[in-house]
């Protein structure tokens, strides 16, 4: 879209200004690979794509702002590019969908080095390629301050395989993939200027959307509800409970914690549960399934090389509680990240 203020970067003599908008677009799109479902990709007024016969369209969008969602001192451009796409792919996966197409809009400060953009795109397109997602369009403009990234991911799935937040039934098991709390702990350590292990750092800076596990679960028809864990398992299971008209009881001792997480938090008695329950940015899957399918769930997810853990039980009475090892209810300090408050 046209800008009102062409003077914003007029005075700049940056590499970006030398390149210009159309040069930048060429540079950004140089590594884009197409896909047979893409009829018309980048370069027209709109992209044209074809859904597979009988499938419905899944759509999700996320906006990432510099110094709100990421900091350039922590987030190297390659992993930032990967993560920018991963967070929306994770949403499509959590509905049981196959991610297919992405749109990328960038508002770029004039002093951003071209190498940053190159590495960002390398990361973005590697994540796209790993998940067979085609970049089909976007927008670029100049930003007065800070890098802003807006990503839309579209996917598809047969109607009867799509998994919603609503659907959990009383006495279902509550499951979570992988481990929780690592990203939040990594962030806390970074904020405190402490040394962070590569394992925790990688969970924060380069989350891996659980596409294959989500698809396997959805296509096997094993789960009654599913969500991706972005705000912490307590808040995100809370969304499932609310939309399913049920409650839940989470067992703190069952929460899957990584070795790195346990090592780092051994000396901090209250912190681990807080981070594991409400830290956020896990990008794991939280889902519910009948007790009778415990074995099938384990087999299904293991085939994808992913660990899965039962962390609680769906209750018919509303409200989500977490209980400690000795059965006393744990009082969470916060229910996940909330913008504006």
């Amino acid at each position: 879209m046209h800008g009102i203020d062409s003077t914003v970067t007029h005075s700049s003599s940056s590499a970006l200004a030398d390149l210009g908008e159309f040069g930048l677009i060429s540079r950004i799109t140089a590594g884009v690979r197409t896909h047979e479902s893409v009829i018309t990709g980048i370069g027209d007024d709109a992209a044209v794509t074809a859904l597979s016969a009988g499938m419905q369209l899944l759509t999700s969008t996320d906006m990432l702002l510099e110094d709100v969602h990421f900091r350039r001192v922590w987030h190297d451009p390659y992993r930032l590019g990967r993560k920018s796409l991963a967070v929306s792919i994770s949403d499509i996966a959590a509905m049981g969908g196959s991610p297919r197409w992405a749109l990328l809009s960038l508002a770029i400060p004039s002093d951003l080095p071209l190498e940053f953009i190159d590495n960002f795109m390398r990361g973005f397109l590697t994540m796209a390629s790993e998940n067979r997602v085609a970049l089909i369009g976007g927008d670029t403009c100049s930003s007065r301050i800070g890098l802003t990234i807006s990503v839309t991911v579209m996917g598809e799935q047969f109607p009867d395989r799509i998994v919603r937040r609503a659907g959990a039934l009383p006495d279902d098991d509550i499951w979570v993939t992988g481990t929780v709390g690592d990203a939040a702990l990594g962030l806390r350590l970074l904020e405190r200027g402490e040394t962070v292990s590569d394992e925790l750092l990688s969970r924060l800076l380069d989350p891996n959307p659980q596409v294959s596990a989500a698809l396997a679960l959805a296509e096997a028809g094993l789960v009654t509800s599913m969500i991706d864990v972005s705000d912490g398992v307590l808040a995100d299971y809370g969304h499932i409970a609310e939309q399913s008209g049920v409650g839940g009881c989470l067992r703190l001792d069952a929460l899957p914690l990584s070795a790195a997480f346990r090592r780092h938090t051994a000396a901090l008695p209250a912190v681990p549960y807080q981070l594991a329950l409400s830290g956020g940015e896990d990008y794991e899957l939280c889902f519910t399934a009948p007790r009778s399918d415990r074995e099938k769930i384990g087999d299904c997810v293991k085939k994808c090389g992913i660990a899965v853990t039962r962390i609680g039980i769906v209750t018919s009475s509303p409200g989500v509680t977490a209980v400690t090892t000795d059965g006393t209810p744990y009082s969470a300090q916060t229910k996940g990240f909330n913008h504006f408050t």
Copy 2:
């Protein structure tokens, strides 16, 4: 998506902080109307929609930044909401598509009054309703500085009715709907602090995407190429020419200028052509069609209550020229807005 920095707006005691992220989302989505094609709208990990049988998906996205694309002193929130959606609807229309679904992401500064958001949404949803577009998802987050708006619009159309930039043939007529230059003139007058007529202001602040004319032309199979005029007719026809492997000759005396435009520019000899050719933000349609269909084109567009004007001829030799009344080539000072340069 989760934010790294929850302190950004912690200290704020604004109405927005009192409302919180989930309160804000409720407020934003209060007026959202659904549509039979929307299977699952706002409130899950991703939206689920169903395309009409046999149709392909059209997708376009635009980002609007405060003080780059709009200024709060000029752009009242209601019309800003309308325009934020209109610019992407215009892209879908220019491909001959029926706009269907929209995603809206907002990065909101903590001091933005809630009334601004309410009026913005009223405008956005009115534009949506006028074009039978359903808002199906989005993202909200806190911005350190300035309002950022990112909109994705999806549409659909039968494959053989989709119109691309590529397709113009030598000797085709070049057409444009409505009048050109009004929005650019309105902006120039605003920038100079001069009085601006409501007619020009409305073209700048509240552009009307030409959906019905675009659909009528596409469905009648009358046009060989089409684009929406956002960067000025010279640059945008240039995209058609480039992608069609042709050139073009535009007649300056044929450019459709509004009465308000002529009145305001009567005393400025060089300015009118510059603004009309390269001013941008017209959001009219520029398209090409065989000479033999002149009458049909006129009839087809007139049924939608839209004026249409032949402004030139497609040439087989590359390059786009504009000629003045006496036949001398006009040398444009700039070829449309270009971010970063």
